[in-house]
Amino acid sequence: MNIVHVDELELITVGDHGLQWRPIRSRFGIRSFGTNAYTADVGDEIVEEHSETGQGHEEMYVVITGRATFTLDGDDVDAPAGTIVHLPDPSVRRKAVAEAPETRVLAVGGKPGEAFRPSPWELGFRGARMKPGEAVEYIEQHMHEYPDAAETHFNLACFKALSGDADGAIAELTRAQEMDPEHVRRWAANDSDLDSIRNDTRYPLEAT
């Protein structure tokens, strides 16, 4: 049987605020909706601050155990176990902090009216935990499972730059820039991963 406790799921730390991602969708190979669990120590981030504008996803968070405080477009919402926070509007800025020990939150999401496709950020979050060369290999092996996204090519550019593959990094960054120039310019401006190729004559973005 495909049965597992949230605490036994793989734990992938994301960002610098204690967020623990517990992948469910990829664990079971779910293809019809997005779903993951998150855990955190008291006071730590249990939902990363973000909006869903890029993906256009409608989301639902369910507090399975413990207690969390959600902040939704600046409003604080107390969410004890059993609370559902539903975000039909992708533009709402959302985050949550764990308020009790053993807080576990489930997220479910997808774009209304469209067949689900896995979110490219799964590749980036996993890659960030690996050595750059391994991350490149992992992403290139799995990127066909995800929609072709600027985010994925940008992440590949970063990992290739970090692993010393300037040619590969330039090619990926150029591809990302063609797909979504506005976001890529912003991501690249603040990402030290790309420092080794910034002075390359082929660097596809203008200096900021």
Binding site: V6, I30, T65, D73, V77, A79, G82, H86, P88, G113
Partner: protein, 211 residues
């Protein structure tokens, strides 16, 4: 569009369905990306009604409160709160509560297709409204289900059953006509056997549909 909704699983009115207590999350919130509902039971009570999903429909169950015993195919599994169970398409599954106040969340969708609401859970909610005497609320739920799936026989057929049980023969016959138009072969076994339609069986118009 509302920017956000916050609701507790305890606040949503429960609906009896096939011997289980359904907490209709999807309908209550208007959640669009996936089928999302919860089941409630006390010790020994049935949580997830025994069933299989169609080819292409996968489901995930999450124990939010209490403790459940899942049976999936030939296997059983102990599932305290925080447990996640994935069931692939076409596999038989059910779950029973092992503690009072157990709640299991169920999320489902069809692989490669956009999710659309307005199916079995809507029919269960409409029936609950009818039994509670909330006729207009029940009709509205069915109307939404028909609008969501104009090509499908089930919402029209369930509207017929609903009107028959509510004592509205003319409306019931009209929905049955529409159901026959959409899928004459598919609706036939139901016309012959469904006890919901018993109030209509002596009506000559019903006999005509059967002929």
């Amino acid at each position: 569009m509302t920017a956000y909704n916050v609701v507790s699983l305890d606040e949503i009115e429960r609906v009896e369905y096939l011997g289980s207590n359904l907490i209709p999350v999807r309908y209550t919130l208007g959640f669009r990306p996936a089928g999302t509902n919860a089941w409630f039971a006390d010790t020994g009570g049935q949580l997830v009604p025994p069933h299989e999903e169609d080819a292409g429909s996968e489901e995930l169950y999450v124990v939010v409160r209490g403790r459940a015993k899942f049976t999936v195919g030939a296997e059983t599994g102990d599932a305290p709160k925080g447990t996640v169970v994935y069931v692939p398409p076409e596999v038989h599954r059910t779950a029973v509560a092992e503690e009072d106040g157990t709640v299991v969340l169920a999320v489902g969708g069809r692989i490669g297709e956009p999710f659309r609401g307005g199916a079995w859970d809507s029919f269960a909610i409409a029936d609950a409204h009818r039994r509670a005497g909330r006729t207009e609320e029940g009709r509205e739920v069915l109307r939404q289900a028909r609008d969501e799936h104009p090509e499908r026989m089930a919402p029209v057929y369930n509207s017929a059953c609903w009107e028959a049980l509510a004592g509205n023969t003319d409306e019931a016959i009209e929905y049955l006509r529409q159901a026959v138009e959409i899928d004459a072969k598919g609706v036939r076994p139901y016309l012959e056997e469904d006890t919901d339609l018993d109030p209509l069986r002596d009506d000559p118009r019903f006999q005509e549909l059967l002929a």
